[in-house]
Symmetry: C2
Subunit: 305 residues, 2 copies
């Protein structure tokens, strides 16, 4: 199993240009590929990142401003043209289903695959999906329209067998393995108890990722994203434009760093840069004054959790 | 006044990739910039072609398949973000207004500029717009859903004054110029009639452009596009796939050339290539067997009428 990672497809705000791609990213976690936001041009960025369309089953849309979903209808249409049969689940605020439906109504398209729409409306942390390996939560954000972030968390996996040590105890049969993986001690035929930690290794650390964009500087999210391994927090502006950030429902790099520090996250990724700042390293520099482990995200770069 | 020209932004069909851009083009005629179709990524292609967004007032959408309009909502949204105040007129089949409205409803966007929607539904040639310099008609096409092409035609302009010859006739006053421009002969004070052609030059030739995509091989269009200076006719396939073309409502290069020949157009541009053909020169080669003055259109190239 590959280590969980985040591939940035686009990390700029509002207007797409040849160099600036609006928000979109793919989280690979426990073998799942989660597409988060889908600005115009996402399908071309996916190709450049060599991520196979068919791996994407779950799509998360933070809010209905165009720079976060104008590429979605094109991607869904391409799925259809490529003969996709696997269904897609879309987690998004109310309205997206209507937008998608009206497109396919007027092109008289009957999709070859099924779309499951999960409408998000919660104003507090809410578990929106769970399977055997992962839990996903929506995070309430504060923006000009209803918006939420997402928290992705691996579930604890079983302990790993230490085959070398196990072989030394002839009483242990293959049928005992499941209990060992669950952490149980082993009792030999003559009553000796062998502690589990002598027979198994720790499972891999549980990793988590939080996506928070678009949002004002909003302290309530801190409790939801505590200790995540990677936090992507928007930083549309630098602190010189704090007023503009507040007025438009966005954050500065400084504020993103403050959130990261207070939430004690392992690493902070910045993004959703306004096009008015040509050098994104300025965001990193500003955030570093407050929180050391920070990076200004770049398109087509992969970050490991 | 610059000579009328057509700049191709995209000329491939269906799925956008890094190299293949879906249909979009800008016709510059008599100082107007007409955007014809608007596949995903059009706004980025416009930037690459260095066409200023603000010059575009009229947008023409042939039909509601995604590769012809999925870039429109992004472009309209960008107009808004850039503070546009000039209104936009959109000529498109029924449905597009609903699609646009639903986007802005859910993003709670109140556009800073006005959109005039002109709904196209005619099944015969119809004049859809006219101003002092240009006439525009919709051309009925034959496709899987309602689709139309467009015919753009310059209006005749006035004759140009031959100042050198005029100066030789002292009787001619500035007040006589308008009549000379309209082609009237001049009568001197002593009754001599000087024929207009001795005092003026011919006006520039009236130019015309026809856009026909997407369409099956459809003979009725011939009468509408007769003698145009430039015809863009789709050629999604080569003749080896004539059956597929027929089934999907498209044409082959061969068929496009046949239409061009029968309509006696001056030049034929091919486009809307299926991605399955990596070498677009094959389309040109096939069409040349029937019609000599043909070119396979390429993105970001400008063709003069």
């Amino acid at each position: 199993m590959k280590k969980s990672s985040l591939t940035i497809l686009g990390c700029h705000s509002s207007i797409p240009t040849n160099k600036f791609h609006p928000t979109s990213q793919v989280l690979e976690m426990k073998g799942f590929f989660f597409l988060i936001d889908c600005g115009e041009g996402t399908q071309v960025q996916l190709r450049k990142a060599k991520i196979k369309f068919n791996k994407i089953i779950h799509i998360f849309i933070s809010h209905l401003h165009g720079d976060h979903f104008f590429g979605l209808i094109g991607l869904l249409s391409t799925f259809h043209l490529l003969g996709r049969e696997k269904s897609v689940s879309i987690y998004a605020p109310k309205g997206l289903k209507e937008i998608i439906d009206v497109h396919f109504k007027w092109s008289y398209t009957k999709l070859k695959y099924c779309i499951d729409h999960i409408e998000l409306s919660s104003k507090k942390l809410e578990k929106i999906m769970e399977n055997e390996k992962i839990e996903i939560f929506s995070i309430p954000l504060k923006h000009r329209i209803y918006a939420n972030g997402f928290l992705f968390r691996e579930k604890p996996s079983n302990r790993k067998l230490n085959i070398k040590e196990i072989k030394k105890i002839p009483d242990i049969q293959i049928g005992d393995y499941p209990n060992l993986k669950l952490g149980k001690d082993f009792k030999t035929n003559n009553g000796r108890v062998i502690p589990n930690f002598q027979l198994t290794f720790d499972p891999p650390k549980i990793l988590s990722y939080a996506f928070c964009s678009d949002t004002s500087f909003y302290l309530p999210i801190i409790e939801y994203i505590k200790y995540v391994d990677l936090l992507y927090h928007e930083s549309t502006f630098l602190k010189t434009e704090e007023n503009r950030a507040m007025k438009t429902g966005h954050s500065t790099a400084n504020q993103a760093a403050y959130i990261a520090k207070r939430a004690k996250v392992k690493k902070l990724l910045l993004g959703h840069y306004s096009n008015r700042f040509p050098n994104i390293k300025e965001f990193e520099k500003e955030a570093k004054e407050i929180f050391f482990n920070v990076e200004a995200s770049e398109p087509l770069k992969t970050y490991y959790l």
